[in-house]
Amino acid sequence: MTQYLLSIYQPDGPPPPTVNLERIMADVGALTTEMQTAGAWVFAGGLHDASSATVVKAGGGDVLVTDGPYVEGKEHLGGFTVIRAADLDAALEWARKLSRATTLPIEVRPFRH
């Protein structure tokens, strides 16, 4: 079994009025239960807006602290789920379900061990 990080990429700012948040929360909740029942779920979390981020960077004896996310962009990591799966096909199947539930793109990356 390999563990995979499913990263949820979210546009910055408040969601447009067309997004049905209640429905999304219900779908994600149901999927979490499905993952747990299947023994695939390891850990998950949702994040505050990228504007709440702070970057700390050590170098040359100093530590630089800057306001905002490390990577500039219009979309940032909004949340993640860690799953365990037999292979990439199985992981992609969970990612497909998560993308449908969140209506957002999901990046799938294997953990080293």
Binding site: T2, A86, L88, D89, A91, L92, P110, R112
Partner: protein, 413 residues
């Protein structure tokens, strides 16, 4: 086996490359669970063959010998390369597997299954299309990295890096080494066929550079097509793709003049078409018709069959071609198919009706769109408009042979 030194050993080993070594790598990948380990083990076995065969003679089954030796080398490697307990456990498990497996069963169905597994792994949707093509040529076709780099006009180091990165992704992300189950097979098979057809098209019309055809890629794609057909004999789209490639490739040598200029289908010397390929292609198309589960490749092959059936351009059965394009447009409703259909419409119902269809297509960046428009406008006597369309076609293609052809046509009118 003979006891006398065997002068043919080097030649026998050379013959093993590339088809047999890709087979050996496919088998070893299943056993090792990793393409890189499998390739290393097969390389070790080839080196052993080079040392052993000249003395002991070439074994009756060179591939079987390579596979058996590679398995042993793999176990040695796992034991040697790491002192970690886990590697020893793996090696022990492999030894047990090797005994249970026997060495004789590798000759038949298992090889076919492993090659098919390799093909589906190389064409996995998690890999970029370009990467799928390169991996398939390397690991299924057995082409060297240098040859693939030459074919795709990139430096060898770039291609080597692309292939290495892909192999690492397969290992690290655990892209499975298996043939998809029945539910996923149609979609995944379509992906494999697309890769083979991409190789063929890259060879048929080089997307850039001054040489119109790079025949080695066409030949390689047809070889892959035949392999797929052996592996999946009951899939009509596999037969359809092979037929399509054979029928298009049959005309390859008449597609350019001695000076390297483009020659249109209607002007080609039909006596120089490759009869053997055409007969092969026609037989496959007939087989598809019997199966009666039409798909995009089969329909395109059927269209090519009508073309190659005609003794002269004038004798072409255009109504039949148009009927096939009507079917193709239903299963593959793309602007490109609509453009090709419009060419058939021009032959059956005249250029005015065809031009109306063409003008509605969103293909402004595609040189063939402008070339077709130019031809239809010329046939309608709209000379100035035709010249403008021809200029647009020249501007939109990077292929030197096609540019030269379009310039010539423009000057001729």
């Amino acid at each position: 086996m003979s006891d006398t030194p065997h002068p043919d050993a080097a030649a026998a080993i050379a013959r093993l490359v590339p088809a047999e070594t890709t087979r050996a790598v496919a088998i070893l990948t299943r056993i090792a669970g990793d393409i890189g380990l499998a390739e290393d083990a097969v390389q070790d076995a080839l080196a052993a063959a080079l040392a052993h065969w000249p003395v002991a003679g070439v074994p009756p089954s060179p591939v079987g010998w390579i596979v058996t030796t590679a398995k042993r080398k793999l176990i040695d490697r796992l034991r040697r390369e790491s002192s970690r307990e886990v590697r020893h456990v793996e090696a022990t498990a492999l030894e047990a597997l090797g005994r249970a497996d026997g060495d004789s069963d590798e000759a038949g169905g298992a090889i076919a299954d492993d090659r098919l597994r390799m093909l589906f792994t190389c064409c996995h949707p998690a890999l970029a299309p370009q990467v799928r093509v390169a991996l398939t040529l390397r690991l299924v076709g057995g082409l060297t990295t240098a040859a693939i780099a030459r074919a795709f006009l990139v430096p060898e180091a770039t291609m080597a890096q692309r292939i290495t990165r892909a192999k690492h992704k397969i290992r690290d992300a655990r892209i499975p080494y298996r043939v998809p189950d029945a539910a996923d097979l149609p979609e995944r098979l379509a992906g494999v066929l697309a890769v083979v057809y991409l190789v063929f098209n890259e060879g048929y019309t080089a997307s850039s550079g001054d040489q119109l055809t790079r025949g080695d890629l066409c030949t390689e794609a047809i070889r892959l097509g035949r392999l797929l057909r052996d592996l999946l004999p009951r899939e009509p789209e596999v037969a359809g793709l092979l037929a399509l490639m054979l029928l298009v490739d049959a005309r390859r040598h008449t597609r350019t003049s001695a000076d390297g200029d483009l020659v249109l289908l209607g002007d080609q010397d039909r006596t120089r078409w490759d009869r053997a390929r055409i007969d092969d292609g026609h037989a496959l198309v007939r087989e598809c018709l019997r199966v009666n589960r039409p798909g995009p490749y089969q329909l395109q092959a059927a269209i090519q069959a009508v073309h190659t059936d005609a003794p002269s351009a004038a004798a072409t059965d255009w109504p039949q071609i148009l009927a096939l394009y009507d079917q193709l447009l239903v299963v593959q409703p793309t602007p490109i198919v609509a453009l090709n259909r419009a060419v058939a419409v021009a032959e059956v119902r005249g250029p005015a009706e065809a031009l109306a269809l063409v003008d509605a297509l969103p293909l402004g960046g595609f040189h063939v769109f402008h070339a077709v428009r130019a031809d239809l406008l010329r046939r309608l006597g709209r000379v100035a408009d035709a010249a403008l369309a021809c200029d647009a076609a020249i501007a939109a293609t990077a292929n030197e042979a096609e540019r030269a052809f379009l310039r010539q046509r423009r000057a001729a009118r």
